[in-house]
Assembly symmetry: D2
């Protein structure tokens, strides 16, 4: 009610909302109740919104994680230590997968492709037999095997020769100066959101797929899910061996 009054007072006749599924669902309801056209812009670090390859915030969240892991790697040369780094991502592994790929991690635990401690241990043993030097494992917060401390404890219990170290990046990932990729995406989506309103669109979320601007009904964007990039998963696997 109050929001509507404010819009009327300032003669604002359309709304652009930047946020995740909560914000966009709310905006959609607002549009229906007050007949104000709404356009959504996907803004979350988790990259879990359907209808766009990337959400605003995702690139910087991964850059922050990778920057942290680069620092860990400075002292990660000791071969008998495992470094477990827990990253955000809610119930998706977008951040974790991209972080793993770009930080040279040997394994990544994500909700979309669970790995048991036994499988993880076998993978580590295989890499050791290949003299793979990296010893960093990325743990997505939403993965079913456990958080970073739990995974570390289970690995140590399994084989006493693992000495583990844990970092939990947590809300560090929600801050930082926007990267260039972030700013370009924001400029493109913001411009396209305005263009869309001018063209009479409403109830849609703007996005970018294969570098083309797209529009998706907000309810689809919110109810469906942006799957992991299978190709990146495959490349990450190649590179970790």
């Amino acid at each position: 009610m109050k929001a509507f009054e404010v819009l009327k007072k300032h003669e604002i006749d359309a709304l652009i909302v930047i946020g995740g599924d909560g914000s966009m669902s709310g905006a959609k309801i607002f549009q229906e109740e007050h007949n104000i056209p709404v356009i959504g812009i996907p803004g979350t670090i988790d990259n879990d919104i359907f209808g766009t390859d990337y959400t605003i915030g995702f690139d910087i969240a991964v850059n922050v994680a990778v920057d942290c892991i680069d620092k860990i790697r400075d002292t990660a040369s000791s071969h008998d230590r495992l470094f477990l780094v827990e990253v955000m991502g809610r119930d998706t592994g977008h951040i974790a997968l991209r972080t793993a790929l770009t930080s040279g991690a040997v394994a990544v635990l994500v909700p979309e492709g669970p790995m048991s401690i036994k499988e993880l241990h076998e993978h580590l043993a295989y890499l050791k037999s290949k003299n793979k030097s990296s010893n960093i494992i990325i743990v997505a917060e939403g993965n079913p095997t456990g958080n970073a401390f739990e995974v570390a404890a289970q690995l140590e219990a399994l084989h006493s020769f693992y000495e583990t170290r844990v970092s939990v990046i947590g809300h560090i990932q929600r801050g930082g100066t926007p990267s260039v990729a972030y700013r370009v995406l924001a400029a493109e989506l913001g411009t396209y959101a305005v263009v869309s309103l001018i063209e009479g669109a409403k109830g849609l979320m703007v996005g970018v797929i294969d570098r083309n601007m797209t529009r998706t009904p907000i309810e689809d964007a919110v109810n469906q899910r942006n799957g992991l990039n299978e190709e990146l998963f495959r490349i990450s696997d190649y590179l970790s061996v």
Copy 2:
């Protein structure tokens, strides 16, 4: 000759070369002379290679420039000063345009769309009349109007009320820790280069266009030119007003 001996000695039967037009042209000749298949990966900060949207190095070069300009903006609140920042890019404006867009510059001088001092002055006067607060101008090293000091001197000569400050980023832009976008691109192109060799390809450069992996004859990649992204130019213009 010597390079070929080294390859033979180590039983290397194909070559992947990462670099700009010089490196790739040389590799092409090497392929013809020694019948060794060659695949090129576009690696230059200038983003001027045909056959790919992005070259490895471009994203980090822009991030470095924008990071510098963020620091300038910390003290750029004085309204009667103009800050001219010269960036690299050889005879293209890719770095300059992307830097201008993502650092909120009011104007950008690039080789592809020259602007006379008179036009620049009129643009600045117009923005002043609109109370635009930013006062940062990006100058591409290869633009015909002049380098940053020359442009500053000409503006000051034209109207004594401009007080100008110049930064020349220069080779600072060639360093820095690789960004995530850079690493993802490198992983994708590197993987695709290997796949291409396995498939029997040669004399081609791998690239990415609209997020799809592509292959372009090295001579085309080197002889043609990657034009500026017109859409970004237009968005940059919108946002600077």
Copy 3:
């Protein structure tokens, strides 16, 4: 034995060792066994070596922690959340105290000045009554009250209105590009170590106290402890209120 052979072979007649108490104690024994003069340079992030105000590594470790916390603060505006950040420091609170002071934390748990959960809760309640906006607590790894997750759980158990978030910086703190203060200290201590050897000193650790170069017997440096800077403790207290 082997180290001594290497020195003899290369006609090295003195040793400068950079490290913590372990490295320096070992070097002292080496000096006694082989009659090779040894000078120590305090190199540890923990700043716990006696005979110097600062150790090499300390400044950058704190900068890394503060950089992380600056990112947390970007989203830490929500008033009912507590952010607990665990930093390194072994059994001293040097890193934690300096991090707390320079990141505007509301409380810091260090080994040297333990605080019970009850005291911490009272402190937080007092600050809340003063409308203090920061909500970041620094937890030194060696403090007796518990690690960051344990402290968070105890606070939540005590009063259900605390919603807590935890980051564990861990080995991220052991990396990063050396800061200027770090490099200046390294240049000063390195130069003074060489000068000391030339002057015939041995079995000593070089350090800096009140900006004057000092020398301390290695056994004192290792056996005694660098106490917390009481003045910083007091200032940190002022500023947190």
Copy 4:
């Protein structure tokens, strides 16, 4: 006049001013005209204020310069190129000297110890004969030999085999996130300024000398000059060879 009204209205009975000589001189006059006690805190990147070892802003300005030069060094391996980097500092060489020391520069041109092009050339030739690998020269903006472009041109004119590259850091140095050393100094000086006012002091600038808090009459702080740290000059010389 107006400032005095504001103070009276808000019942403010003392003033702490943070700034360089201009701000502090002005505050001193204000104190005399209105009988309001004033304490100064030295805040300038140039470190040229008498009565303190360090000014607030100095550490971060040097860190920004060194961060830029670290990026240049990433590609500065080519042995026949000279990189000239111009830094700020007004008519003192504090920033330049500390930057040179901590970035491994082979030479530094400062106002306090001028070096002719001929001397610089001889120094470079000597280093070349020693196979010194660095090729970075720091140019203080206020040095009498010329700005970075002028020095580069003169070197190239003297000997055609120098290929030079120039970066001008300029106002980039005035921004950036405060470093830990900066924040500690600010906390110490701020606290001591308040303590000083409570003790009845006025017309003084607080500072830190050899890690002890000090007070200096504002007119001395402004009229005298903080000389270069001779010891650092000497160490920088050692390390450049």
